[in-house]
Amino acid sequence: MKRAWMRWLPAALVPVAFTAAALAGSYQAGAATSLPHKSPADVIAMMGHANVQALSGTLQQTSDLGLPSLPTTGPAATQGPASTLELLTGSHTARVYMDGPSKARFQVMDLLAERDLVRNGNDVWLYNSADNSAAHVTLPARQSAERTLPSAPATPGMTTPEALAQRFLAAVEPSTDVTVGDGTMVAGRTAYPLVIAPKSNGTLVESVTIAVDSATGLPLSVDVRARGQAASAFSLAFTEVNLSAPDVGLFAFTPPPGAAVEQKSLPAVPAQKAMPMVPGASGKALPVHPTITGSGWDAVMAFPAGAMPSQARTAPLLSQLTQAVPGGRALTTSLVTVLMLDDGRVFAGMVPLERLQAVAAAK
């Protein structure tokens, strides 16, 4: 019976071979590559010089924000406010196509469904295959020139990416360490990881890593890590990227027959609406002025009573996501905490709940 064990050799070797292949694959993916050394200012300037006009690629997004998981299947998951929220939880794969500044297509690939955002010139289409609905927005003509940097008009022709990089580093220096790690591979391309780490211990954010393509300066991945959490809190990375122009037909979208088409008009202040979370950056645009306590990463934004519509406070989705705390409700994630007090005041920041409560009590 000497040969008996020989018969089982393939059955034993196959799993070993798979494990080895899987380990080799993950080792290669995370392998450091040798790239000429660059300073943080060089890498930021590279991002500024990035002039990628056309690309097609696949993005992989994973979030581990510590939020309760929401239903990920069925029409309820991809409609209404839950749709946006759903994008923040769990993991998604999306494809992105770009050709010049005014042609873009973004496809979120759900299981047996897809959500599309197509921009062709001034036409923007949203399509959701789960309920076969489409929405059309016409952008005002001036939006076409939006790719210029916000600070560029102030000093036309004078601002180089190098100067901007220096200015940015000087501005963040008191609160933040900016370093460049060893070269990595992202989507088969060599990249410089730019690591942005808060100096303060009071914030929930441990580090933000942006991998910048060594050849083009295109950011290939963003990875946000939270304190005391092994998995990254949020990561968005290209798994595949191709810098040739995609097929023009991709940007010509006509709603399919039978789809419910909705014409949407653009809100009055579209540009400022998107970023209410960034302290200071768009504070002026908000209807109610938040007051900011502290600076840098552990700043706390305080909104006075009335900033939040009362019907939003009682939405079932909100009570599902928040927990009751003394004097109100709190939304705690691994990166951001929001404290909604019963008297209407709202506090938010990238800090633990205790700090928000301390700020609220001090006022």
Partner: protein, 292 residues
Amino acid sequence: MLPAEANPPVTIPRLTAPRPTSPWALLASELAVLFGRLRTWALLLALAAIPLLIAAAVKLSSHPVAPGRGPPFLDRITQNGLFVGVTAMVVSVPLFLPLTIGVVAGDTIAGEANLGTLRYLLAAPAGRVRLLLVKYAAAAAFCLAATLTVAAAGALAGVVLFPIGPATLLSGDTIDVGESVVRLLLIAAYVTVSLLGLSAVGLAISTFTDVPVGAMAATIVLSVASQVMDNLPQLDWLHPWLFSHYWLNFADLLRQPISWADFGNNAILQAGYILAGGAVAFGKFTGKDVLS
């Protein structure tokens, strides 16, 4: 007869010559046996009934299907009848197709052992590997036949009952009829590949028993267990290794442009299961004590 490895090569006198020994002739005869069986046709007929039921239900229903209700793509059927095949595929992939594959793959070796025909097939120890390969090839042929049955019955029912027009893809783009036929065939190919891993698992299980029903049930239970595990978020580290992980991702073939990434991932995963299942079947079957 004693275990093969304990003996010097013995030539068993072929009292009856039920099946030929050349590999291709053996395969042809195996296919003839498989598709000559009433049971095989009953399985295929049951699969064909799924798209027919879906098409008839949508046709006879008095109110139109609301988008997002019922199985995916159900509301597309009324625009393009070919989508009956796609909807039927979504419905049959989780249970009905694995059920039929489990019956055929679980029966491969255990069925012959149960009928007492296995020893006639084993003229020499080397013949066992060949027999495994031929049995697996026949099970794979059934995978193809099963998915093509669903696709073809769906397409036929759709052509008869519904208009054939431009089809809406998941991305919102529309394609013409010719391309929708191509996509439907690609989906059938994808689902066939998806089921190859399960067939190999069924073949491996089938070598362990002489009771075909046991092997069939075990294969089907495994396919359900794999899908249940794929839905448990606590086991997400395991998900990419489950043979059912990419089963429903054939929808990637309905995007514009087609996303081939999961087609490749699925093929690699199924190849892994074929190798693993094949190795286990080889380990067991080459040493199996064939008494009947």
